[in-house]
Symmetry: C2
Subunit: 145 residues, 2 copies
DNA sequence: AATCTACATTATAACAATTCTAAACTGTTG
DNA sequence: CAACAGTTTAGAATTGTTATAATGTAGATT
């Protein structure tokens, strides 16, 4: 487990002042075994529930964007509903469950490497990301409600 | 050039009443040499500028979604700001130029078919989309934004 | 052709996600 | 510790989109 002091160092290293709010957010986001996906709303809930802390919504937005800009978080493109973020900043693919709106990391072995045979001239490829949208296979699904 | 009458037939074939508004929108969207990408706002502008016509914003949303549902338009996932649509409904992928924020269709030959080896149990795959983010090849310059 | 009705259109209200504002606060530097 | 630039904050504003409810219309039925 990473201690607060390390987050302070980490933040300084990124050129971000280690404010109370930012350190708290680091704890919520990065003091974990596994990486995960979240929306701003998820994160606000986590902060208030897990940390019993109140950070202004505007600050959560500011900080998430600051982290993203520094490459400490990654935005994932799913649908135009809302923004999703990932604490796993490596290049990897996703399944998106359209029923549950759940986002699941693809295992490295789930998808063969994507082979791009031709590129835009004068451009270099920054990332190649695959989004596999899935939904319930049940055709005769009963509508409850 | 496709005549109105054909759009009327086309709409009927899709199970959509060929209203004045829908036929107008077909003309703006499909009476072209090449397919293209657009936002709702783009489309509203095109309707008023190219057709000198006024269609209610709600109708534009309704109709675009109706077309999408029938497979006459395709939604593309770029970012979460707003929805983008594509008059090219075939399965294809996109290059996204991070410098110019331009979206470019991948040619069929540009990317090999993506092979998904493992799926989520009980789910069927609805779509597989690849987004290739490219940027200037010049230097190792950081994004300035 | 008049009538009927389910589907469409419309302006506007409502909504949700995000950004802006401007005042108060705080980490850092000297 | 003083000064200041960077940060936080609540609330307002903005943006993209969906819901509402009254009015209009395409196409079938008479």
């Amino acid at each position: 487990m990473v201690k607060n002091c390390n987050f302070i160092e980490k933040l300084r290293g990124l050129g971000l002042r280690p404010t109370k709010q930012r350190v708290k957010m680091c704890e919520v986001l990065f003091n974990r075994e596994k990486t995960f996906h979240f929306t701003i709303n998820d994160l606000v809930k986590m902060i208030s529930e897990e940390m019993n802390e109140k950070i202004s919504l505007a600050t959560v937005y500011n900080t998430v964007h600051a982290f993203e800009k520094k490459g400490y978080l990654k935005e994932i493109t799913i649908n135009s509903d809302k923004s999703y973020f990932d604490t796993n900043t490596s290049v990897h693919h996703h399944f998106y469950d359209e029923d549950t709106h759940e986002l699941i990391d693809c295992d490295e072995n789930d998808i063969d490497p994507v082979n791009i045979k031709k590129n835009i001239t004068g451009k270099k490829i920054n990332s190649v990301e695959v989004l596999v949208k899935v939904a319930s296979d049940n055709q005769n699904q009963k509508k409850l409600n």
